[in-house]
């Protein structure tokens, strides 16, 4: 059962990366997360939105659609979607250190998301766009260190 949700559409400007991660973090606050959980969510959202800005819309400003839902059991599901150029080979794009972003990009965006979220899902169609779904259970004391 879904208990709360939000959606947000922003242009793919790099100056919006901070706004996006802070907004999602503020939404998750209602679940009373730890400082580490908030940090993990901010970092993962930042990675996903940065991917839209660099890769989905490399030469233009497009729309980035962000939504968040609180599911039962204190689980949050965040979706970051674009209608950009899409990813030809999702498996390859998710390999650590693989990047098409040039020398200053580490190629670790998906690796960071995978390590910080409980689950991530990437669906993409070339020419149509990409959706990244991030799922994390909040304040799971048994898993907290």
């Amino acid at each position: 059962m879904q208990t709360n949700k939000f959606s947000l559409t922003i242009p793919s400007k790099s100056s919006n990366e901070s706004f996006a991660r802070v907004t999602v973090a503020a939404f998750v606050t209602q679940l009373d997360p730890t400082v580490e959980e908030i940090s993990d969510i901010k970092t993962s959202v930042s990675e996903a939105v940065t991917n839209c800005n660099i890769h989905a819309y490399p030469d233009s400003i497009g729309k980035v659609y962000i939504s968040g839902e609180i599911l039962e059991d204190k689980t949050v599901r965040i979706k970051i979607r674009d209608r950009g150029r899409g990813i030809e080979d999702v498996k390859k794009a998710m390999e650590p250190l693989y990047t098409t972003g040039g020398e200053e990009r580490a190629g670790l965006g998906f690796a960071v998301m995978e390590s910080m979220m409980d689950k991530i899902k990437v669906t993409s169609k070339p020419g149509k766009g990409t959706t990244i779904t991030l799922i994390k259970k909040i304040n799971d004391k048994e898993n907290a260190k």
Binding site: S14, T43, E104, A106, V112
Partner: protein, 102 residues
């Protein structure tokens, strides 16, 4: 961000958030200092960094590659716990020494 040069050592006091949007300006300033200072040691101080994503890893890797040309060393100091975690994930300890914020 503040940059201090003492002899062959350049210390960069990074501050605020390091993401894709802000990393570019930092990179340009640091590279200018390296070019003029020709350091044997570059210290990146993360004391006042409040957020970092993988753009920060790119920043560190890029500076490492630049320093490699002259055989200079890179130290990362005062890393907050969450940033230390990202550095370890990226295997940065193979390129630079890492020191957590005490």
């Amino acid at each position: 961000m503040n940059i201090k040069t003492t002899g062959e050592v350049i210390t960069v006091y990074l501050s605020g958030e390091i993401d894709h949007h802000l990393a570019k300006g930092m990179r340009e300033e640091i590279d200018k200092a390296i070019e003029y200072g020709m350091p044997s040691l570059l210290i990146l101080d993360f004391s006042d960094v409040t957020f970092m994503d993988s753009s920060g890893i790119g920043l560190v890797m890029g500076r490492y590659r630049l320093l490699q040309k002259t055989g200079a060393t890179l130290n990362l100091v005062n890393l907050p716990e969450n940033i230390f975690k990202i550095m370890k994930l990226a295997g940065i300890e193979r390129l630079a020494s890492l020191e957590k914020r005490s």
